[in-house]
Subunit: 258 residues, 2 copies
Amino acid sequence: MIEIDLIRHVKVIGKPALYGCTDVEPIATENGNLLDYLITRQQTDKAYHNIICSPLRRCERLAQAFSSRCNLPLEVVQDFQEINFGCFDGVPFDDIPFSVEADNSAVVNSTNEKVQVVNWSKLDDFFQAPADAALPEAEVLADFYHRVTFAWQKIIVQHIGITTENKELKIPQRMLILTHGGVIRIILAHILQLDWQQASWHQKLQIGHGSLSRIVISQPYQEGEHHSFARLSSHQQYQKLHQQVTTIAMPLLDGHSA
Amino acid sequence: MIEIDLIRHVKVIGKPALYGCTDVEPIATENGNLLDYLITRQQTDKAYHNIICSPLRRCERLAQAFSSRCNLPLEVVQDFQEINFGCFDGVPFDDIPFSVEADNSAVVNSTNEKVQVVNWSKLDDFFQAPADAALPEAEVLADFYHRVTFAWQKIIVQHIGITTENKELKIPQRMLILTHGGVIRIILAHILQLDWQQASWHQKLQIGHGSLSRIVISQPYQEGEHHSFARLSSHQQYQKLHQQVTTIAMPLLDGHSA
């Protein structure tokens, strides 16, 4: 059995905006609180065995600190980066013109580069149909879905490989993935086999900052079948696994008592 | 704003089985632990204002105890009962014949009544396509969906009605609903606008015993518009609300620290 916790990074420094590839800093105090939580947990029987994180600072800062404090292997996975929101990425909502007439206005984003046409009607279109109305110069939702789920499958098959070689199969492996709200929503949709193109999945499900979502993966075959499982291709191995979602967006920082 | 916590009852007394309308008792120690948790929470600034529960003992026992200990209004809602699994309801999995040849065998259920044809292949068909392969004498999934979502809408509109008359709109209302895994999954699918007929939603999402799922509901209109909102039909009022899922299946009993 493998238990994988997907934790979203804490709140970031900066005005309210769509932060995708823009590499903003996490709020230090909140990051510290989450680090304390993880270190405390590490002293229980639910300790993690390894950490994976997005390369962006709001995830990596915490992953590095936790890894070095608790001596845990850390892997940075590029494909667990947030979606790239193109011309809207990092542009404060307050700086986005409201009116449709302002369609041809150009605004300046946080890195002071002139960006393409940015306005609320484009953003509204995207929120209403994220799979169809891509933002200018942004990553297409289908591409985002494929890169995230491909990376997920790769990691899972790697780790299942490790547990089949491990004689003590009963000991659960625990993995921590520090990543983004969009990435977590995509992984959940993949495992639940939901329509990831549907706007409501992105609009109505809040993945809070510093929240935990859990996936439990088990191998459905008998112990005697290890050898035949090992002969399957990675993709066939992946298809044989039982993946279940057992918790979504459990808040870790603002009181577990909810 | 209204915050609604959907808590699933604790584990029940009895052999592993599909328990739908069968009125089994909750395990007393676990029920006691959940009661203690709720009473402690009630002393914080996140206290509940009212309780709603399913009429079945595994939910109602706790609701009654919490209501009387903390002096909270309690409403028993028939429509928040679990789905009725028909001939399979309450029949221990161990007593269900495996082989297809055993197709015509009849087994005796926990109430000692002779029940219709019960076997694993029927159960497998149901798990693979719960909306199409109804169990014998069971409630059809579509009927279950409609009774639960109708009851949900009725309760929400009632409570939104209460908050519009309430001058202090900023104070969140907190409601606790004690109900079943199937009911919670239906309400979540309704709010997330997912395909509730899809087998994977029922198979891959575990709603643990004693776990909490949270819905946050807000009124999108300005304070000046109360009067026009009040003139809308209940259904129109419901359509105007913003409903979001902020947590799914957060474990409350086996350590909040996950």
